[in-house]
């Protein structure tokens, strides 16, 4: 099979011949290794290789898209995408200006995950699994490890030809404790970009999570209601992603007049201490890259500055239709999907409050740490902790069962009244949208305090 570089060169010629307002193609080679444990033993180890591509065409504002992993008959596939776009298009195509780029981006790989032998990965995972099982009260464990190496080519009818490569590693360790028909779990998610090393030396974290699963089993369920809640950097990162990040993706907004009005730049969303940033141009994180999947250079975008809405995330189409600058946020999880507006590395900038100051005035509150999940409907959102304690009289007190928290973007951000000085980025997450999941992203925040946050419970 010819390599994707030479197929890309053929495609570049084909794309320029099309009668369409714009045509682009993606080609991709992907190699994945996965290792899964369930219980005491390794359940599966597997390797997969995939090659494929897609063509996306724009005619009079309508899009056609064809994806495939058979790389023959490319002219026909391009023609089908153009035909589909022509069927749809009835208005004027709008795409923000973007200079054509010809670039080859090689990753700065430190310890290449693909070069770590399978038996060495297995030995490390064996150690983590044994660490979980050493804890008294553990019923079972699950470990999911995966690494991938992805090479992509982007070619468009405006002369861009961009080759990029990246390596990703993710790992999730879950300890499950059971007693008297009750089952509880605790988990750790971690990830890394272009380096296997951060997967090592997690023995202490794994040991703690196993103990936590056992502790949670005998912990009480909190009473549902409104509390003053302090979030640790990991959960606050999930919070900023769900509570505000998705709302700043302009494909939700650009063709909806009411939402455009609601999201007018300059509108106040939080107190002056609140600053929120997204950017793929911040190097070496899971959401980092040089060019997005429309060939637009990555940037760093303030979404909220001093409490006010100052920016949003764009594709070329949403930027053009809103009369704003493209931000390089069009991403596709793989060649089977067209690029859509996505987050990259999203975080709350650090403030000045120390953790002790933050909890000192709280008579009864909740300290929620670690994440389990999160989701949003734009206005209302939920996110769940992996580890939770009561705060009593200014001190972290007894452990309780993990909680699901909910909020409403129009008042919860306003209720953030303290921002810590201890920013941390979490590399363990993946984001889902429009059937494309999990997309590598990172989230982060310092500790934050939210007044009147709704917590589910008994």
């Amino acid at each position: 099979m010819p390599d994707i570089q030479s197929i890309g060169e053929q495609l570049a010629t084909i794309l320029k011949k099309q009668r369409a307002d714009y045509v682009e193609a993606h080609l991709e080679e992907n190699h994945v290794t996965s290792i899964n444990y369930r219980g005491r033993q390794l359940e599966s180890a597997g390797k997969s290789a995939s090659t494929g591509g897609n063509v996306r065409a724009l005619v009079k504002g309508g899009w056609g898209f064809v994806s495939f992993n058979d790389l023959d008959d490319l002219e026909k596939k391009v023609a089908l995408a153009v035909r589909q776009a022509r069927f749809v298009g009835k208005e004027k195509s709008q795409l923000a200006e973007c200079p054509a780029a010809v670039a080859t981006i090689r990753p700065a790989i430190k310890e290449d995950p693909q070069k770590v032998p399978l038996h060495a990965k297995k030995q490390l995972l064996d150690e983590y699994n044994e660490t979980v099982w050493r804890t008294a009260g553990i019923q079972t464990s699950m470990i999911g490890y995966g690494d991938s190496h992805r090479k992509t080519l982007f070619i468009n009818s405006q002369g861009s030809f961009i080759s990029q490569e990246r390596a990703d590693v993710t790992m999730r360790v879950v300890a499950i404790a059971a007693k008297d028909g009750q089952v509880q779990q605790a988990g750790l998610s971690t990830g890394s970009r272009d380096d296997f090393a951060p997967m090592r030396h997690l023995h202490k974290d794994v040991d703690e999570l196993a103990q936590r699963a056992v502790d949670i089993l005998s912990a009480p369920v909190i009473k549902g209601g409104q509390y003053t809640v302090v979030l640790d950097p990991i959960l606050a990162g999930v919070f900023v992603h769900e509570a505000f990040g998705h709302l700043s993706e302009s494909d939700f907004v650009y063709e909806n007049d009411q939402l455009r009005e609601l999201m007018t730049l300059g509108k106040t969303f939080g107190a002056p201490i609140l600053n929120i940033v997204d950017g793929a141009a911040i190097p070496a994180l899971r959401g980092s890259y040089e060019y997005d999947d429309e060939g637009v250079p990555a940037s760093r975008t303030y979404l909220i500055r001093e409490g006010k809405l100052v920016g949003r995330l764009h594709s070329r189409e949403t930027a053009a239709k809103m009369g704003e600058q493209p931000t390089g946020n069009a991403r596709a999880i793989n060649y089977r999907h067209p690029p859509i507006v996505r987050m990259t590395n999203t975080f709350i900038e650090p403030g000045k409050t120390t953790f002790d100051e933050m909890i000192s005035g709280i008579k009864e509150g909740v300290y929620a740490k670690n994440w389990y999940g999160g989701t949003t409907s734009m206005e209302m959102f939920t996110f769940s902790s992996g580890e939770t304690y009561m705060i009593r009289n200014g001190k972290v007190a007894e452990i309780v069962r993990p909680v699901v928290l909910t909020g409403n973007v129009f008042n919860t951000l306003m209720n953030i009244d303290a921002i810590g000085d201890d920013l941390e980025m979490n590399q363990g997450g993946g984001c889902g949208k429009g059937g494309q999941s999990p997309l590598p992203v990172s989230n982060g925040s310092p500790h934050i305090r939210i007044q009147n946050c709704l917590v589910g419970g008994k």
Binding site: G46, S48, S50, G64, S67, F87, V183, G457
Partner: protein, 433 residues
């Protein structure tokens, strides 16, 4: 395909090749108008081998040169789990209609017209609403071969139709929607439109709810979003084998309300969850999971059944090209005799939950759920009085299903592989601001 099997057999003791080809054409509407047409073609080949008693596997989309595939499977077999099963020999499969050539023949014009029809009806009812709609046709072909002489293959068509509307008033956002799917073309949009319009009507007014314990009706969609995931996990033979299923050692015992009956059924004609055999070539069937409140059976693939000392229930399904794992074909809850309206009439103060957001984020294994009511309504004196917001509903699936106040006669398909009626519980925890 025989060539891969022959070459794999030079390096392995047993081998199996599984090939899945799909072609899917989604027609998508955004902001009330046609926006995208896509055509997605894919073909994935999975090789599973047994070598020195251990399982190895690899997948590829490359249609030439199988060396990498075979090398990958051999490399992983060194560490793979001990095989506790034999590949099936040649079997007879039930005949189940799941292929309708009419699906492929539905034209892009017809698909676009269906989307326009749904959007026109919803925007006429509620000016200012912004709709997304999707009309999708798909055809899949599966085939498998193994070194024990087993051989299986079938084709399936799926047609899907759905609309979602978003209504923004000030800072208030309302989401309504419905979708349906079948192995036949779905050319009638009436039911979807009726559901969406009913929800828009009910949501015109808002209602306040106080925190506390109260009667809650979960509609089929509400029940699916809140309570089904823990059950799917608990009835999975793997969870049972790990000792992590709360009902794993309760086979034959009365764990649930006697009114509750649940089965997995792959034999219902022209449903997307139906198929003659699973992804390992084991014939598909009906499996009773809960009979009158009693735990009847769990679901298994070959390896999990081998380890548990039982037989595969024909529930082996491969993820995106990976190893098979026990997975639901189609879950069917038996309906009751009371209508939804009569259920509402019997409640003095309570809630109807139509969509619970984030319920899958809690301790699913233990059966706990907690979520934000994305779409739900307040009941006062036997009537729905308005939409509730900023409200959380929490509970434990095992505690609630022990004592069901009523089961509705309104069973419907939610997505391709779940059929359920409405359920009413007397005491559910509600927190509101």
């Amino acid at each position: 395909m025989e060539e891969i099997l022959d070459r794999a057999m030079k390096a392995a003791d047993e081998a199996e090749v599984f090939i899945a080809s799909t072609e899917e054409t989604p027609v998508q509407f955004e902001s009330n108008r046609l926006k995208h047409i896509q055509n997605k073609q894919s073909k994935v080949i999975t090789l599973r081998i047994i070598k020195n008693g251990r399982i190895g596997y690899a997948t590829t989309t490359r249609l030439d040169g199988y060396e990498e595939l075979i090398d990958g499977a051999v490399a992983t077999a060194e560490f793979g789990q001990k095989a506790e099963f034999a590949f099936p020999t040649r079997r007879r499969f039930p005949t189940i209609g799941i292929y309708d050539p009419a699906v492929k023949k539905v034209s892009l014009e017809q698909m676009a017209a269906l989307g326009e029809e749904m959007i026109a009806a919803v925007t006429a009812e509620s000016p200012g609403i912004m709709c997304e709609a999707g009309v999708t046709k798909a055809a899949c072909e599966f085939s498998m071969f193994n070194s024990c002489g087993g051989k299986a293959g079938y084709q399936q068509t799926v047609f899907g139709l759905g609309v979602e509307g978003q209504l923004v008033r000030g800072t208030d956002m309302l989401f309504v929607g419905d979708h349906t799917s079948s192995c036949h073309p779905v050319l009638d949009t009436k039911e979807i439109i009726a559901t969406v319009i009913r929800h828009l009507e009910l949501a015109k007014r808002q209602a306040a709810v106080s925190s506390g314990s109260m009667p809650v009706i979960f509609t089929p969609e509400g029940f699916a979003s809140a309570m089904v995931m823990p059950l799917v996990t608990a009835f999975n033979g793997k969870t049972v084998l790990d000792g992590a299923s709360p009902i794993g050692n309760r086979l034959g015992q009365q764990v649930f309300d006697p009114k509750l009956t649940l089965r997995d059924d792959a034999t219902i004609p022209f449903r997307p969850g139906s198929r003659p055999c699973d992804d390992e070539g084991v014939p598909c069937r009906k499996t009773d999971l809960i009979t009158g409140g009693t735990v009847s059976h769990f679901i298994y693939d070959l390896q999990t059944a081998g380890r548990a000392g039982t037989k595969s229930t024909g529930n082996g399904r491969r993820g995106p090209g990976g190893l098979p794992s026990p997975s639901i074909n189609a879950l069917v809850f038996d309906g009751g005799s009371i209508t939804f309206d009569d259920m509402v009439k019997g409640i003095k103060e309570g809630l109807v939950v139509e969509q619970l957001m984030g319920a899958g984020q809690g301790n699913i294994l233990g059966g706990d759920f907690s979520g934000n009511v994305l779409l739900g309504f307040k009941i006062e004196n036997g009537e729905i009085v308005g939409r509730v917001k900023d409200t959380m509903v929490s509970g434990n699936v095992y505690q609630l299903l022990k004592d069901i106040a009523a089961i509705g006669s309104d069973s419907k398909w939610v997505g391709g592989s779940l059929r359920t009626p409405s359920f009413c519980f007397s005491n559910v925890s509600v927190a509101s601001r």
